[in-house]
Amino acid sequence: MLLTWLWLAPALAMIVVWAMPSRGLARGTALLFSLGLFAYSLWLLAPYSEGLLHLEELGVAGPLGIRYRLSVDGIALSLCWLSALLTVLSLAASWKADVPNAFWASFLGLEAALMGVFCARDLFYFYLFWDIALIPMFFIIGLWGSSGRRKASLKFVLYTFLGSLSLLIGLLALVTLHHQATGVWTWDMSALEKTPIAGRAALWTYAALALGFAVKIPVFPLHNWLPDAHTEAPAAGSVMLAGSMLKMGLFGFLRVLLPVFPDLSAAALPVLGGLGVVNILYGALCAMAQSDLKRLVAFTSVSHLGFCLVGLFSLTAAGIAGASLQMLNHGLSTGGLFLLVGMLYERAHRRGLNDFGELASRTPIFAFFFAFILLSSIGLPGLNGFVGETMCLAGMAKASLPLTALGLIGTVLAAAYGLPAFQAVFWAPAGPGSASPGLADLDLRERLILWTLVALILWLGLYPRPMLELLEPAASALAQR
């Protein structure tokens, strides 16, 4: 039951918050609840270390092998932490927004779906939660986003649903082919590991599954939904989208594709590793060309997740651990960036790079935080991004040197898009149409949120050992297969 509460509690809280009579009450309840859930998820470390969370199931396996099963390993648990933390921060950041109960309820619903995805071990429930996550996001973008939200919400759902359908067909094909090969109906992820499916059927299944996951990450040709969705979503929505939802795709690769088809994954290394590198470079190049701050951050997402993909498909323990760590890092730093841009937008109602200037002198605290988180995103040694990226590239170096070299270029490009943007907003002289005059600096609530992030960034950067201890067993177990 312990794991079930992780998703059931937010789902129930969603209903309660939605039905609350007053907005203030809803807001407060939602925030308190998400804090509580975060604490609970941290507490789960104790039973996890005792090995109690390995499996949790209910009911009996139906005739076709579907059964309610949950389990977590280190990577999944860390992603649950990330989701819970980001929910708290998003809710806190939106504190002043004038929104109905449904806003707070949607975030709780999203949290429930995310927890379900990360904890699921039966593929049916994995898929169920995967798709459920789309609905709250649709409403978050559509109801409380900015000007282009009407179109962006529909585009987001339809695009990602296409990926989901591919995923569905892949999963069904997997289960059916497994049955044909072994005579056993099962949807259990661990039972399906190293399934003896081979030949063209296996290739098609792999392709379908990979496509489904790739749309979510997003991988280069399928990334079109990301900039629009991120730009039009409200700040809190972008944080959750970038921080957690994109990880679902990588998690899918990790939990489903690699264990089930280890040989095919090894064969696919050049393709998927190459696509990862394309992500890194393409994302960075596009980010350099942006003039809208939010869109810029969206493209940095693409770039960072390219690193994760590269690390993942290196199929080494270091690479996979690095990818998992980078997932957390990206959640923290990109989440932080979105929060910062959101705070700026809240005050000035503008997001263009060239709309500001001289903010360093007017709002020094804001400038400090922005600089810090931006440097973490770029990968400055001593901060978390550096550790993650290095591990990914180190893992890849064992597998394929050319890809590693290209990845290294990506790290340089990161500075190329980050620093000029910072300069334009904070140091450049303010132009005539600038929104800079009259912008207030961060208040206490915002500073608290950002201090939390900064602390975690520093901790992961300077002392990643505890987190790595969590991630490494899972990663090496995965790599051995």
């Binding site: 009911g59 139906g62 005739p63 076709l64 579907i66 049916f124 898929y127 169920l128 798709d131 459920i132 789309l134 609905i135 649709f138 409403f139 559509g142 109801l143 939200r149 009407r150 919400s153 529909l154 759902v157 339809l158 649903f161 296409l162 359908l165 569905l168 067909i169 069904l172 094909a173 059916t176």
Partner: protein
């Protein structure tokens, strides 16, 4: 050919109950001058419920030369009775005529389900259709309804004529009108089956024979459209199924008879064409009723795919997918149309910002739309999930891809309806938030919502199968 042995009346107990209710409704209509339909509706509901209970009372399965009961027949009859109950609950009849007509249609459907002889099948088909033509016209004169009713009447008559022609060819070929396998398929029997099958496809609203459907659904009252889109489609699917197996003692738990290969060949193509056509046409509609009509055409396509799965596999348990789809479809479609009836909305423009004015009804409609579109965790998703899975298990991989892509297309317009309802500002034609269902209608709404949330439980399909084959 069997001797014309008398059919035991106990076989017909449920139908007798419905007939008694029909007589009672007519009697009520004779009594008081301005009769409100409440008493008639009550009698009707009573009869339908009695029929439902009587279905499970008798022996599980029995078979005569003319009629059979239990097994497949009973499952379908349960669907029909449920759909009729929903209609009676939701319809505000001003008078006893709609109730009587509905009961007549229900009798025809029951007969169609229980038929073991082609003539009985035909009588059932006609008895089902004629009251529906009248029901489309309704009680108050209206040019659109008149046009729709006349259109339905003429095209339905043509379809019935085709059925009769097929029947006569079948008789000429095989020398019997019993619903039995006619030996090896010959050009004559395939022609006969094709003709009779077209009548069935007409009732389903499948692609070459769908032209009447949008106009009829748009013009008739939403609760009648609900009944037609669920019960009549189910009847059509059953008709197609009976024609395709042609075995007189069909029992889902035993083996099925030899399936004619001819019917199977074109079924996937028709299914894919129907789905795609329905979804593509629905994308541009501005009238919600017409949109739902096209969406029901698309769902009919998926139903045909489920039917093909059953026929292709030849196993008894594959029927459970078809039944689950029919059941889920019954609840979600009825819910959607009932929402239209109770809120008075018929154009997409009227949906603008409805969510702001009436949040709970809008949430209900959104749930129905999500279920129709196949978004987890709704029952509609689970139904499509099983259909796609069965297709992949069999030999229909491309049809599975077609179903998946079509559900994406469907989501396009379902989601845009939700978007209009929740994201836009209330427009000039948006009705105010008054949404007062009667107690019975409210109960139906709750049932629909509850059923649509079943997607969390994959075992629901097995439960339904067990329930229907009790």
């Amino acid at each position: 050919m069997n001797a014309l042995t008398p059919v035991p009346l106990s076989l017909l107990a449920p139908e007798i109950a419905v007939t008694l209710a029909l007589a009672a409704a007519l009697a009520v209509g004779m009594k008081s001058r301005p009769s409100n339909g409440l008493l008639a509706r009550a009698f009707g509901a009573l009869g339908v419920l009695a029929g439902l209970i009587l279905f499970f009372w008798g022996p599980a399965y029995s078979d005569t030369w003319l009629l059979r009961s239990g097994g497949v027949a009973r499952a379908w009859q349960v669907f029909f009775h449920l759909a009729a109950l929903f209609f009676l609950a939701a319809h505000e009849a001003r008078g006893e005529r709609p109730v009587a007509l509905l009961l007549g249609a229900l009798l025809g459907m029951d007969l169609l389900a229980a038929a073991n002889d082609l003539f009985a099948l035909f009588i059932g088909l006609e008895l089902m259709s004629l009251p529906l033509y009248l029901l489309v016209y309704g009680l108050r004169p209206d040019k659109r309804k008149l046009e729709a009713a006349v259109k339905y009447f003429f095209t339905g008559g043509a379809a019935s004529g085709l059925f009769l022609f097929g029947l006569s060819v079948w008789y000429a070929e095989t020398g019997t009108t019993a619903l039995a396998p006619g030996g090896l398929p010959s050009p004559g029997t395939s022609l006969a089956l094709a003709l009779m099958g077209s009548a069935a496809l007409f009732k389903i609203g499948a692609v070459p024979f769908h032209f009447w459907l949008p106009d009829v659904y748009e013009a008739s009252e939403p609760e009648l459209s609900a009944f037609m889109s669920t019960a009549v489609k189910a009847a059509g699917v059953l008709l197609l199924m009976l024609l395709s197996i042609g075995h007189s003692s069909f029992d889902p738990l035993g083996g099925s008879g030899a399936a004619f290969p001819n019917l199977g060949a074109w079924l996937p193509a028709v299914s894919a064409a129907t789905m795609t056509y329905g979804n593509l046409m629905a994308l541009r509609q501005r009238s919600v009723r017409r949109l739902l009509a096209f969406s029901s055409i698309a769902h009919a396509g998926v139903l045909l795919a489920a039917l093909w799965v059953w026929q292709d596999g030849g196993h008894g348990t594959e029927l459970s997918t078809l039944w689950f789809y029919l059941g889920a479809y019954l609840f979600m479609n009825t819910g959607a149309f009932l929402f239209l009836a109770l809120s008075g909305i018929s154009e997409v423009e009227q949906l603008k910002g409805y969510g702001a004015r009436a949040p709970w009804p809008a949430a209900f409609f959104a749930l129905m739309l999500f279920s129709l579109g196949g978004v987890p965790p709704t029952a509609g998703f689970l139904a499509k999930f099983y259909v796609i899975w069965d297709l992949l298990k069999g030999s229909g991989a491309w049809l599975a891809a077609a179903v998946a892509l079509n559900s994406l297309l469907g989501l396009g317009y379902y989601l845009s309806l939700v978007r209009t309802m929740t994201l836009d500002e209330p427009g000039p034609r948006t009705p105010d938030g008054s949404f007062c269902p009667s107690a019975a209608a409210g109960l139906v709404l709750l049932l629909c919502a509850a059923a649509s949330l079943l997607g969390f439980i994959p075992e629901a399909r097995e439960w339904l199968f067990t329930l229907l084959t009790l």
